[in-house]
């Protein structure tokens, strides 16, 4: 087992030992159960039936919004809790460099986000295929309707995770870093309305977060290529990463 893997396993152990993750998973199951219950009741009252693929895609779309916020919370917490409990000292007096520690945390967050989303997707699809009508089509529709869109929105989710993570390193305050990421996320739509016709709009990060539009064959801004979007996206992500590493490395720990 490499040293880095060991660090990631440590972070994973800490996240899974806290209450947040199990509680959040329970919350997701409750949401799913409620949706199933509502649909079954609706059908028994004579309402129209739902296809299992359609059901999965709607439910997953809703829960992934929750998971987006949840991942912002844990991306902040994985940093701020160490400062709050003073365990940051124990973490940083080991052979691991500060950059390595930071990277192990970031990788763990990504693993958690993937795990939660994929687990939810799997459970929802299983339940839907057992309970609802699957005559309209099977797995390949699931790919088109749920799996692919999820991977195409992942860059957007990752961006806000990076924002929360960097804000947490900068501020060391849980409330502040969650707020920064959530507010930016919810104001992004409005912000775009003000700036979408400016010539420099394509140099902001916002048009490059939605990769679904490329899949649909209509680029977010006329004339830009996916390569350009990918490059811009990578640039912003790298900038956030660099800021968090530099600040984290230089900080005196009290």
């Amino acid at each position: 087992m490499s040293y880095f893997t060991a660090l990631v396993r440590n972070e994973w152990m800490k996240i899974t030992s806290k209450r947040q993750l199990p509680y959040y998973l329970i919350f997701l199951l409750v949401v799913l159960a409620a949706a199933i219950g509502f649909q079954l009741w609706f059908q028994s009252e004579g309402g129209s039936e739902v296809g299992s693929v359609g059901f999965t895609s709607v439910i997953f779309e809703i829960t992934s919004v929750f998971t987006g916020i949840f991942s912002i919370v844990i991306a902040s917490q994985i940093i701020t809790d160490e400062f709050k409990d003073g365990t940051i000292k124990q973490l940083l007096i080991r052979p691991a460099s500060r950059t390595t520690i930071l990277m192990s945390k970031l990788v763990t967050i990504m693993l958690v986000v993937l795990f939660v989303n994929l687990a939810m997707m799997l459970v929802t699809a299983l339940a839907a295929f057992i309970l609802f009508d699957s005559s309209a089509g099977g797995i390949h529709l699931l790919w088109e309707g749920t799996i692919l869109p999820f991977f195409l929105t992942l860059p957007n989710e990752l961006f806000y995770i990076f924002v929360a993570f960097t804000a947490a390193v900068l501020t060391r305050s849980l409330g502040l870093s969650i707020s920064i990421a959530v507010i930016l996320n919810s104001l992004a739509g409005m912000l775009i309305m003000f700036i979408f016709d400016k010539p420099w709009y394509k140099y902001t990060v916002f048009p490059h977060l939605d990769w679904n539009s490329y899949y649909k064959g209509e680029p977010p801004i006329e004339g830009i290529t996916f390569g350009f979007s990918f490059g811009m996206y990578a640039l912003y992500m790298l900038a956030l990463l660099l800021v968090s590493i530099l600040v984290f490395k230089k900080r005196d720990i009290q």
Partner: protein, 309 residues
């Protein structure tokens, strides 16, 4: 193997123009318990933070097993176990998970038998699978020591380890540390603002104040014997000057004469001698009082004697 485990060379720390640590140098030898003494705010924690790489060093060098803690951090830290201020542990995990966590971090394999050995050493086997939030402070302190020892460091750094412990806990900790130094040949650096505490467990002590080196002293266990300890004794008399005069030509010299209070530095056996002396010289004594010395006084009286044997 080199006999010096830790070496500070002219270490200085400045924050926003304020000098917290000023040209501090000292060495810790292998297998010794080294006291790091200073009043509150002297800069002990600041120094320790620099030693373990939590704080940058403004100038000077810190070597651990010959490795510069700044330039060769990973190698230096591989030899260090530390508790800075409080035993910070993950309260939401069990003692075992905490140990596993720190075992994975130390960069070399820690065998299960080593973990068992340490757990036994700090006597936590009974509670190892309980969450740390249910531990008493003494248990946390011991778990803190256990995690610091997992990788068999050559230096254990403890910042005010007795803070918050009751007398029994302090005694227990003292015994652990002595056993550690003896059985595993580990050097231990213990910071404290209490001389009495340092006296009881350390082989040598360095004293700092306002971030500056004050002095270094070898402590001998005999020194703690009651008869040998000198302390300030105040004699409240009718006429201070007369009392001081009566002492002229004797081997006793007052440290201070003020408001008819004569202060002398004496051992226990000398007190009745002085009383007798004053009575013989018809000096009226109203009160004899032993003054708890400040750390500074005590250290100064320690070093003034030149040696403590």
């Amino acid at each position: 193997m080199n006999d010096i485990v830790v070496e500070l060379q002219n270490v200085t720390k400045k924050i926003r123009g304020k000098t917290l640590i000023d040209q501090l140098s000292f060495q810790v030898k292998r297998g010794e318990i080294y006291g790091f003494l200073g009043p509150n705010g002297a800069g002990k924690t600041t120094t320790i933070r620099m030693m373990v790489g939590l704080m940058s060093i403004t100038s000077g060098t810190i070597l651990i097993e010959g490795h510069d803690v700044v330039k060769n951090r990973a190698k230096a830290m591989a030899h260090v176990g530390a508790i800075v201020e409080n035993p910070e542990l993950y309260k939401f995990m069990t003692g075992r998970q905490n140990l596993l966590h720190f075992a994975r971090m130390c960069g070399k394999d820690v065998s299960q038998s080593r973990i068992d050995e340490i757990v036994k050493f700090v006597e936590l086997d009974q509670v190892l699978d309980k969450k740390v939030q249910n531990y008493s402070l003494g248990m946390r302190q011991r778990l803190g020591i256990a995690q610091a020892l997992l990788h068999q460091p050559s230096i254990l750094i403890l910042d005010e380890p007795t803070n918050g412990l009751d007398p029994a806990g302090i005694r227990e900790l003292r015994d652990y540390l002595k056993r550690l130094a003896r059985e595993e040949n580990i050097s231990i650096l213990v910071s404290s603002h209490l001389l009495s505490e340092i006296e009881l467990m350390c082989d040598r002590v360095v004293v700092i104040q306002n971030g500056k080196y004050v002095g270094e002293q070898i402590l001998d266990s005999k020194h703690t014997e009651e008869q040998q300890v000198t302390r300030s004794i105040q004699f409240h008399v009718e006429q201070g000057e007369a009392a001081a005069q009566s002492l002229e030509g004797t081997s006793y010299q007052p440290v201070q004469v003020e408001n008819n209070v004569v202060t002398l530095t004496l051992t226990r056996d000398q007190i009745p001698e002085i009383v007798e002396h004053f009575v013989r010289h018809h000096i009226k004594i109203y009160e004899v009082r032993s003054i708890a010395e400040t750390l500074e006084d005590k250290f100064l009286s320690m070093t003034k004697g030149g040696h403590i044997q």
